[in-house]
Amino acid sequence: MNKPLRRIAIFCGLLVLTLLIRDNWLQYVQADELKEDEHNRRVAIERYASPRGDIIVDGKAITSHATTEGDFKYKRTYKDGAMWAPVTGYVSQAFGATQLESIDDGILTGNDDRLFFRNTLDMITGKKREGGNVVTTLNSAAQKAAYDGLKKQGAKGAVVAIEPSTGKILSMASYPSYDPTSIAGSNEAAGEAWNKLQKKNNPDDPMLNRALREVYPPGSTFKVVTAAAALEHGKYDSADEKTDSPLPWTMPGTTTELKNEGNIPCEDATLREALRVSCNTVFGKLGYDLGNAQMLETAKKFGFTEEQFVPVRSSASVFSDGMNDSQVALSSIGQYNTAATPLQMAMVTSAIANNGTLMKPYMVDELQAPNLDTIEKTDPEEMSKPLSADNAQILQSMMETVVEDGTGTNAQIDGVKVGGKTGTAQHGENNSKNPYAWFISYAKADDGSSPVAVAVVIEDDNAVRDDISGGGLAAPIAKNVMEAVIDSKK
């Protein structure tokens, strides 16, 4: 009986061998794949096991952390969360992460490959893993001015401010906003808060980052782009040259007259005058004269039609191609299909203020290791040159006239030269809905350089239609933001 016994022994040995091979396959060959599987909860447990790094504004963290119940140890908290939400986005144990929190997640959690060497050292020395910091370009005074201004209006809206010489984003506010701390956990309260913030339950859509992700018809503020196109394509060489602008003007191919707001002196007005009083006829005809292709070319140089990554993605602003003559005319005064994000209009303003050079907008200055060493630094980068320095200065003088003596007087700042443009964009069928109030502006230092360019948009469902004008609602906010930047530089 011993021969079959020995064979059974071999069989049992084979069973064990099979198990050992399978174990090696699981725990050696497949180990990393299983370990890093996104559905493997250990990945999330590990992610929340140590405090997350901070997002920093003006040298101060605008984020912090708190401990939570359950297997996720730490959650994110935010200081002035609603104000900063368009900058930070959120990171939630239950709902993932967005915007900066998502894009720089690796640095903030400490899992980034660039921290690998450091992490390995820490593992050897027994130190706990820490997250790095994200240092932003934002200016807390400007952000506060922007958010408080929007909040005071109580209407939906957004503000973006840029430093024209570098492209640094100084302020990015959106209203109504939300406090990302409320959804950072994974408990029931966070779930309820999350549901309340969803668009289907909250028509105000507070989680929408209007500064980057909403496109509005830019209305009259787009006239500066049309003016830039006219100057760049040699249609006119000076702000004070009389234009060939009949009044009334019937749009080509139609029997419709293009109307101005009120009885304003637009017949053959100079560019300066036309921008000062915001003549639809002058800029409509100008756009028609230039044609779709030339208008589109200039708009594209300002960043239209492309998504921007700052590094958070912004929606692409729209200037259409293949339009007929009347559509081009309407598009050139910021109507028809033309639509822009607040970021886009801030970029337009900043390019003009920066003597024609558009700097790539960005909001992350630096990524820091846990010990504050710099891992990555963002250098200012030229994005395009939509207009020459001479033409930019012509346009600047026109925009400064608007603030000194036109529709934008509300943005005047004592002792500082300010250029701007108002906009009151119509929308809805037959313009039935309340218009958007726009204001774009920049401040200019004595040496001709510009510390800040800003775009403000407000959508007010409750205001009386006539009351809404960029100068009335939006310009004061722009002024406060510019003042905040100028003051913080002193």
Partner: protein
């Protein structure tokens, strides 16, 4: 078996010479390690989870040490020539199992599960009961051949035990498998005990019938085909396993019993044809049942695509479980060296994390290295069992020892293979490691029987009787 008229120098037994060392001191030394290792592991878990040496360390170490000590003393007294490895191996596995169960008791996530937080003390109690049964076997089973007398009673007993879970009101359906019965507040898995009783029946039956089965056969295509009437018993066992599979939807037990029978049949008859028959019949049975039994089908589906099963379970589709995928993640996350005691997250497996899936905790926290060591501990138990079978002097002892160790090996394979995703999951547990009274108690009895057989095998042959005629059977060799 080899009594001879020649002088004692010509003894031709398969075991060592007369006066072989009892090896009890080896066993004692190994037992010290078998108790100390789990005690260190226990301290390790406490330090990892609560940053302090657990308060129960002394009483736990004392408890395990006492049980092992009692076991050792009883073996020393009643089975002095027994195998020295089996008791330490079982003690070590049982102790490590207790540590892992205690570690899962500490998990916050498992607090809402039945018997959460108190499984370790209960398991210690079951261990005590297991050792008690072990002691009883050692004391009252003076010679394993006594069991031969109860061949047919064993058959009835095994059938009775197997059918118990089907009794209405007594049986308990836990997640689709009907292999438990509920007595008072205790859940009992009669299958674990049936394993041993059935091995006794098979050994007794085959010892009697082995010649008929082996010799009365026709040769066909190189295989010895048994006569139709000798096929009877194997068909009966096959049908019983299929019935278990169908009515209790328990693939593991069915496979275990059938596999054990085929192994014993092969050893008894030395006919390879039985293996071929056995494999064919189990394949036909398993495939046949799996094709119409939804519970088995689902187990197979979960095995083939655990991720899909996980997604279904997460989506709230009833009857699906994410355990299989969670176990795979636990193994993978452990990697080569593991996270260390108490630092893994095997509690994510939730239900049965400390019983059917306890191996995943070892895989995650001790890593590939620790799990391989653990599997080799099991391999050693099997090896000692097979060695006992080889050394046994009587066919009944041989058959019983190989049946028990073969079943043990199959069980380890089926459970570990299931948890590691090698084969579909079954409703059995890792012997000694897993939480569960029936399993621990039955396996201590199994070790007791193996020790008894090995003691008989290694015991020096009694001095030749003065009168050779006094011996019942005399084999005279030329």
């Amino acid at each position: 078996m080899s009594s001879t008229t020649n002088p004692p120098t010509h003894h031709t037994s398969t075991i060592g010479a007369i006066g072989a060392p009892s090896r009890r001191n080896t066993e004692l030394a190994l037992l010290v390690f078998a108790v100390l290792i789990p005690v260190f592991a226990y301290a390790n878990v406490g330090l990892a989870i609560n940053d302090e040496v657990p308060a129960g360390l002394l009483s736990y170490g004392f408890g395990l040490g006492l049980l092992a000590g009692v076991g050792h003393l009883v073996v020393r007294k009643f089975a002095p020539y027994a195998d020295p490895l089996l008791l330490p191996l079982a003690t070590l596995l049982n102790g490590l199992g207790l540590v892992a169960i205690w570690r899962l008791d500490q998990s916050e996530l498992l607090q809402d599960i039945e018997q959460a937080g108190t499984a370790a003390p209960r398991q210690l109690m079951y261990t005590a009961m297991g050792i008690a049964l072990f002691v009883a076997v050692m004391i009252f089973l003076k010679d394993h051949r006594v069991l031969q007398r109860y061949t047919y009673i064993s058959m009835l007993g095994a059938l009775f035990l197997l059918l118990l879970p089907l009794v209405p009101g007594l049986g308990k359906n836990i997640y689709g498998a009907k292999i438990w019965i509920q007595v008072g507040s205790f859940s009992i898995q009669p299958g674990e005990f049936a394993k041993i009783v059935l091995a006794i029946f098979f050994a007794g039956y085959l010892m009697v019938k082995r010649d008929a089965l082996a010799l009365a056969s026709r040769r066909f295509m190189g295989l010895y085909l048994p006569r139709g009437r000798d096929l009877g018993p194997i068909l009966v066992v096959w049908i019983v396993s299929i019935l278990i599979l169908v009515f209790e939807t328990d693939l593991g037990t069915s496979l275990l019993f059938f596999g054990m029978f085929v192994i014993m049949l092969y050893v008894a008859t030395e006919r390879t044809s039985w293996i071929v028959f056995g494999l064919m019949m189990s394949a036909v049975g398993a495939v046949g049942v799996a094709s119409f039994e939804p519970h088995i089908q689902q187990r197979v589906d979960a095995w083939l695509d655990p991720m899909k099963e996980y997604a279904l379970s997460r989506a709230g589709v009833g009857g699906h479980s994410e355990q299989a995928q969670q176990a795979l993640w636990a193994f993978g996350s452990g990697g080569t060296l593991g996270t260390g005691w108490g630092q893994g997250h095997s509690e994510l497996i939730r239900f049965a994390a400390n019983s059917d899936f306890i191996l995943a905790t070892f895989g995650e926290e001790l890593g590939l290295a620790g799990l391989m060591a653990l599997l080799l501990l099991y391999a050693l138990i099997v090896e000692r069992g097979v060695r006992t079978a080889l050394a046994a002097r009587d066919p009944f002892g041989k058959l019983l020892a190989i049946g028990l160790s073969g079943a043990f090996a199959l069980q380890v394979f089926v459970v570990a293979g299931g948890v590691m995703g090698l084969i579909p999951l079954t409703g059995m547990t890792m012997p000694f490691l897993a939480y569960g009274g029936s399993s621990v108690i039955a396996n201590w009895a199994l070790i007791g029987i193996l020790l008894r057989i090995s003691d008989t095998a290694r015991r020096p042959a009694p001095a030749a009787p003065a009168n050779p005629d006094a011996e019942m059977t005399q084999v005279v060799r030329p």
